[in-house]
């Protein structure tokens, strides 16, 4: 199976603190990887390094087997990696359409924006992800939306860009049951289309349900990797997590 992205012995430090210590992780095509770990385990640092918000101090990042230099957020997006950040990475005073196309606007020559095309696509996307309120359309400001709807906008962005890998950072936080189910449906759809998801979560049950493979992170290190068929219940995963964390 082709590796979409691979982190090879990546270290990231902030001042004197090593947030990520020789962490290795790969995501292959068509799989859902669950990344779990306690608060402060380095999940966020790992994700932000993976998607180019942070650049690693040591170690390599490989895209489809090829090492990349000067890794940054724009390069990650150009390589087909889209991220739904924990904070949704939205600009609340701007419209839904501007948010969906943020950083990847549809352009005419000289940088002018294809506004009509963007609005058309955005209206299509917000129907696709199931915005039912008639009060909301592509030009409504994001600040007027609920938490679940904001999550929807962030996901719409990933859908539009047809990412090969979608990174979901705590996507079910603060969501209602109904909204959580929508996120799960979305993940399964992505998998069905032979694309990949990296799913980060606090809720072991959520992560267990959705993932094919698990990566456990503790104090900046990858301490355990296992496949879903290695275990049979979420409780078992919980036990493994409890046993590995702090043991190394």
């Amino acid at each position: 199976m082709e590796n979409i992205i691979e982190l090879d012995n990546v270290t990231k430090r902030f001042g004197g603190i090593t947030a990520l210590n020789k962490a290795s992780l790969k995501v292959t095509r068509g799989e859902v990887v669950g990344l779990i770990g306690d608060n402060g385990a380095g999940k966020s640092t790992l994700i932000k390094t993976l998607v180019g918000v942070y650049s690693p101090d040591e170690g390599d990042i490989l895209i489809r087997g090829k090492k990349v230099n000067a890794w940054n957020a724009l390069k990650a997006r150009e390589s087909g990696i889209e991220t739904v950040f924990q904070d949704r990475a939205l600009t609340p005073q701007q419209s839904i359409v501007k948010n969906i196309f943020m950083g990847k606007e549809l352009r005419y020559p000289f940088g002018f924006i294809k506004e009509k095309e963007q609005i058309f696509e955005a209206n299509r996307l917000i129907r696709e992800i199931g915005f039912t309120s008639k009060l909301i359309n592509a030009e409504s400001p994001v600040g007027n939306l609920s938490g679940g709807e904001r999550q929807g906008v962030a996901i719409a962005r990933a859908i539009y860009n047809k990412a090969e890998l979608i990174v979901l950072d705590e996507p079910t936080n603060n969501l209602s049951l109904n909204e959580t189910q929508k996120v799960f449906d979305f993940v399964l759809n992505v998998k069905k289309s032979n694309r990949s998801v990296l799913f980060i979560g606090h809720n072991i049950y959520h992560v267990y349900d959705i993932s094919d493979r698990f990566v456990i992170l503790d104090r900046g290190e990858v301490v355990h990797k296992l496949n879903k068929n290695d275990i049979s219940t979420p409780e078992e995963l919980m036990k493994i997590m409890r046993d590995t964390i702090g043991a190394h």
Partner: protein, 324 residues
């Protein structure tokens, strides 16, 4: 019906601030008209406003971009004079004025880039750092020019004079150029990647960065644009008056800033309005000249300027709190 409502509310979200500023302008006109109709129908009053407006537009509109990006610049009032000094000095030394114009605008862009880089790279407060640059550059000009003005009557005979600031059948050309500038900036701010990135950066720079926007580059470019606008304003004024004088531009510092905010651009970044700013400039320019025109003494001017700023801020408050 509900679709109609959402259309209206979106329209208001997008244009409410501009409409507010147009409203104040109309209100001000009505007050002047009722208060002093005989002064108000005299064309020379409006002519003097139209002489002042282009300069203020070149200063104010780029500031809308910068404020929308979440920064502020005070040094533009000195950049204005530095660019004018470079222009006047070169013209005096026999360089072709068209080349001087280009070099003057380059000077403004370079100063803007330096100020922007200084603030962005060292993470300085743009308010305080640009205040420092404001004084520093003014000091440089006073030292270089020995506090002497430069007169450039020779500009009169060059082709750029009638083209840029001449009279076209009684119509001052600088108004034409200012109008072109406004139209360009309207599209640049609302329909161009740069303007939209400016709004994203000012709204939430962390989000913008996560989405791959180069936040620092966007901010530095916005500072450069302010430098370019100031240079154009300074050079135009120098041409109109045939004189560079070392204290030039200082008087515009607070007026241009006032025009930005009276025009409806909020101070917190992420939002801005070009059309609103044009009317903001109109309000400020008419206040400056109108008070005298209706026969009140100049002492009232600052009082009313202050009053207008406060009333405008209170009015724009109707557009609500900042959403997060």
């Amino acid at each position: 019906m509900s679709n109609n409502n959402s259309y209206l509310s979106n329209y208001f979200h997008r244009n409410g601030r501009a409409l507010g500023s147009i409203g104040y302008f109309v209100l001000l006109m009505v007050i002047f008209l009722v208060g002093a109709p005989e002064a108000w129908i005299r064309p020379n009053l409006h002519q003097s406003v139209f002489v002042m407006m282009p300069t203020l537009i070149f200063l104010t509109i780029p500031l809308v971009f910068l404020v929308a990006s979440g920064e502020i610049d005070l040094s533009f009032a000195s950049t204005y004079a530095v660019a004018a000094y470079v222009f006047a000095l070169l013209v005096k030394n026999g360089v072709d004025p068209a080349i001087c114009l280009v070099l003057g605008i380059f000077t403004g862009a370079a100063i803007g880039a330096l100020v922007g880089t200084l603030i962005v790279v060292f993470r300085l407060s743009s308010l305080v750092a640009s205040l420092g640059v404001l004084f520093l550059l003014r000091g440089v000009i006073l030292l270089l020019s020995n506090s002497r003005s430069i007169t450039i009557m020779e500009i009169d005979s060059h082709w750029i004079y009638p083209l840029l600031v001449g009279n076209f059948y009684g119509f001052p050309m600088q108004i034409f150029w200012a109008a072109i500038f406004v139209i360009f900036c309207y599209y640049f701010f609302n329909k161009h990647v740069f303007g939209v990135h400016v709004q994203h950066v000012g709204d939430n720079s962390v989000s913008a960065e996560q989405m791959g926007i180069n936040v620092n580059a966007v901010k530095i470019k916005a500072f450069m644009f302010v430098g370019i606008g100031s240079a154009i304003g300074g050079i135009f004024t120098t041409m109109i008056t045939y004189t560079f004088f070392p204290t030039q531009g200082f008087g515009y510092l607070l007026l241009a800033l006032a025009a930005v905010f009276v025009g409806g651009t909020p101070y917190w970044g992420g939002l801005g309005t070009i059309i609103g700013a044009v009317f903001g400039v109109g309000i400020i320019a008419y206040m400056e000249i109108g008070i005298i025109a209706i026969g009140w003494s100049g002492e009232w001017r600052q009082f009313f300027n202050g009053l207008i700023i406060l009333l405008a801020l209170l009015g724009h408050r109707l557009h609500g709190e900042r959403v997060r």
